[in-house]
Symmetry: C2
Subunit: 155 residues, 2 copies
């Protein structure tokens, strides 16, 4: 129930090809407060509700609770969400023993690409592929909950 | 998924006796905004997450979505909630073909008693027992989400 992850900017998409599994994600926030984020996510044909707590000081780890919910009901709940709904394509990119989730944002956030890696401990090592850009772990601006209220096109 | 209900103040507890089924309820809010309320409730040994949307103009009906969740996880989620956690005892009181939920608040809300009746349509008739006080349907102050941030002792 504690999620440990690190987040990076990505400046190219040249490393993505048809061999990478991808998911279409649409998500909104019933609360974008970073200490009690409540997210409704549609991921291809599935839907989830996810609650996240406050991050630790380094921004690496955070309480996360998630449940799959009915897709039609999730669509109704998305209508209750705050201002902006985020649309992105998530590519799964293997690197050594790890898998990066590379989120390519669409619509009001076109141009933003973020890569996340989930770790089993805060000091776990991993190889950094050449396409990985600046680390932004713990930077609240790159929380999807922040982006949902402050789309990238307005930055 | 649309909940239709009316709410009343209650000024006495003399009509309650041991024949009435009761539940102990503890609940907090991950969002108390009346257009996207997210509630975590412990009810005796069970736990639920409930999301409510904006009320209609009369305050009678409102989108409501609820799922049972793991009790231990719910306790962790309650720790993420906004300021106050509400504690109350709910008595189920039959009146004709309907059942009133009579909520007797404790702690910071001691002295507040509210009765709710769920209806199948906005104009459904029901008999009003003698102990039923002033109607407060649609009055935001009597939303539990409001009370959670403004406890009755401060009114």
């Amino acid at each position: 129930m504690i999620e440990i992850e690190r987040k990076f900017l990505v400046n190219t998409l040249e490393f993505i090809d048809q061999s990478h599994k991808s998911n279409k994600i649409t998500q909104g926030y019933l609360n974008s407060h970073p200490e009690r984020t409540v997210r409704i996510r549609l991921k291809d044909e599935q839907a989830f509700i996810t609650i996240k707590g406050k991050s630790n000081e380094s921004g690496t780890s955070r309480l996360e609770w998630e449940k799959q919910i009915d897709y039609t009901e999730a669509n109704q709940l998305i209508n209750l969400c705050e201002d902006y709904v985020i649309s992105k394509t998530r590519y799964l990119v293997t690197s050594g023993e790890h898998t990066f989730e590379v989120d390519v944002f669409h619509g009001d956030n076109e141009g933003l690409i973020l890569a996340e890696i989930e770790l089993t401990s805060e000091d776990e090592q991993f190889s950094k592929p050449s396409w990985l850009g600046q680390e932004v772990t713990g930077d609240l601006r790159y929380y999807n909950s922040y982006i949902a209220n402050n789309p990238y096109k307005n930055w």
